[in-house]
């Protein structure tokens, strides 16, 4: 048994195609990949908004902004 379908290299290479594991499940891999990609965007956008909201609430008053600009 082999996850790649290759159990021995006693073969003619011209007869060999794909050599990665779990062949036949490529469609499932792609669905998982796309879900992870879209999920990443959602999590990132939420985190970025939270960061900016936090910065504005803690340091967004005129005095803090002026102080930061003086030191820039």
């Amino acid at each position: 048994m082999s996850t790649t379908g290759i159990e021995s290299w006693a073969v003619d290479l011209k007869d060999v195609g794909a050599i990665y594991p779990l062949q036949g499940l490529e469609g499932l891999f792609v669905i998982i990949g796309v879900v992870l990609w879209l999920g990443w965007h959602v999590m990132q956008m939420r985190a970025e908004k939270a960061d900016y909201d936090d910065t504005v609430s803690r340091h967004g008053d005129d005095a803090s902004v002026n102080e930061a600009l003086e030191g820039d």
Binding site: K14, T55, V56, V65
Partner: protein
């Protein structure tokens, strides 16, 4: 692989494309240095991460759908034919040839070479929008240009069967339009919606200089882009192919290198013309900017970009003059557009890539007028009108328009631009404060230990 010659050709081609990929990595290193150098100290790390994270996002989306678009859409579809389902099928993310496959040595390296072009397209846009765009919004835009817009233009105008090549005689061997004009147009579309950085323009519209914090780093970044550009040029060629494999009108058995259109050229030709167009751009960039280092280096880049459409065929003196002329135009247009329309393109990307690329396409139509665009029968020859229409498609239709539309949508949902206070405080403000607090804490502890 049957026979020694076939085996050698396949392995050489595999290695050839592979070698272009680490070379093209330098383009991205260069863009990161250039962009971070151009930003102010309060925005450094966010600027770096904004550019860096387009790498994984464009990579995975190019795997999911970008590569399929290239193979499925050369006919439009519905301009010269339907969706090319058969060619697309071999390049879907679930195709067996997209993973390790002993029967296919080329798809992976060819995919990666195209992918590095995708990064470049997105990275060109990245520099122009620094210091005020929301990173998450930029990354969505990066996917749109890197894995959708540019690869559709490649299917149309940078493919041996592309409808623009067939009907317009479109010729763009080293991507004046298919990478640079489109990316410049896309950046301009975003900039129109995004607006300038706070303080960029006086009340009467006079632009102010927002100086790069590190001009030396900016110039070194541009130098790295030159270095990576060698990989870009080489990756645009098919390294070795024989006329029977091309299957067009070329007779005999003489093997040759070709452009992406399978028209003959040589590595020698593009090497000399790359250097001559770089030189023309540097010489004019220096003169027109009064020796300004940033614009001299950018001029070198604009020179290559302007001549790239026809650098497979130009005489080296053509390449030098065309490169110089494109640089002059890009420089003048940058400042004219900045003043006239209050467009804050922080690194001049719209000019260096967009205007120079557009102009390069138009010039190519005149200089190469009548030259066959393809080895196949029935294709239009290269001509000025076809190149002009092609430039419009690249810059406006596939560049400006998608950039503007997606930016409008992002702005409408309130995620395109960072809050005003964050822009003034600096994107790195919170991180910098945490670091300063940590450093102060360590210093206090050290003093207590004395």
């Amino acid at each position: 692989m049957e026979g020694n010659l076939n085996a050698l050709t396949t392995v050489f081609t595999e290695f050839y494309y592979w070698a272009t990929i680490p070379l093209m990595f330098f383009i991205h290193i260069g863009f990161c240095m250039y962009e971070v150098g151009a930003s102010r100290r309060r925005n450094h790390m966010h600027t770096l991460m904004k550019n860096t994270m387009l790498i994984p996002l464009v990579t995975i989306t190019f795997f999911f759908f970008g590569w399929w678009l290239y193979w499925a859409m050369p006919n439009g579809p519905w301009i010269t034919g339907g969706l090319d389902v058969a060619a697309g099928a071999a390049n879907t993310p679930w195709s067996e040839t997209m993973g390790p496959n002993a029967g296919d040595r080329i798809t992976g390296v060819f995919w990666a070479a195209f992918l590095l072009f995708s990064w470049t397209a997105a990275s060109i846009v990245s520099g122009s929008v620094i210091e005020r765009i929301n990173s998450g919004a930029f990354w969505i835009l990066a996917v749109v240009i890197g894995s959708v817009a540019w690869i559709i233009d490649a299917a149309w105008g940078w493919h041996y069967g592309g409808w623009m090549v067939q009907l317009l005689g479109y010729h763009d061997a080293y991507a004046s339009g298919v990478i640079h004009a489109i990316a410049g147009g896309f950046a301009l579309g975003i900039l129109v919606v995004l607006g300038p950085r706070l303080g960029k323009f006086a009340a009467d519209g006079t632009p102010r200089d927002i100086n790069p914090h590190n001009p030396w780093m900016v110039c070194l970044g541009l130098f790295f882009i030159y270095a990576g550009f060698w990989g870009f040029y080489v990756a645009c060629n098919v390294p070795i192919i024989d006329p029977p494999t091309i299957g067009g009108e070329i007779t005999g058995d003489t093997w040759t290198a070709t452009t992406i259109y399978l028209t003959p050229t040589t590595l020698g030709a593009i090497t000399v013309n790359f250097l001559m167009s770089l030189s023309g751009g540097l010489l004019v960039g220096y003169l027109v900017s009064g020796g300004n280092a940033f614009w001299t280096y950018s001029g070198g880049l604009a020179g290559i970009i302007t001549a790239s459409a026809g650098n497979d065929l130009y005489h080296p003196i053509h390449a030098m003059i065309i490169g110089g002329f494109g640089t002059w135009c890009a420089y003048k247009l940058h400042f004219w557009v900045e003043r006239k329309f209050r467009i804050d393109d922080a690194v001049g990307a719209v000019a260096v890539h967009g205007y120079a690329g557009f102009i390069g396409l138009v010039i190519c139509g005149f200089v190469l007028w009548g030259h066959p665009s393809s080895p196949y029968e029935g294709y239009a020859a290269i001509n000025p009108l076809g190149q002009f229409v092609g430039a419009i498609i690249m810059f406006f239709v596939l560049g400006f328009l998608p950039g503007w539309v997606v930016a409008k949508i992002l702005a409408a949902v309130g995620v395109l631009r960072i809050p005003k206070q964050v822009e003034l405080l600096g994107l790195d403000f919170a991180n910098n404060r945490d670091e300063q607090a940590a450093a102060a804490d360590v210093r206090a502890t050290e003093k207590a230990a004395v």
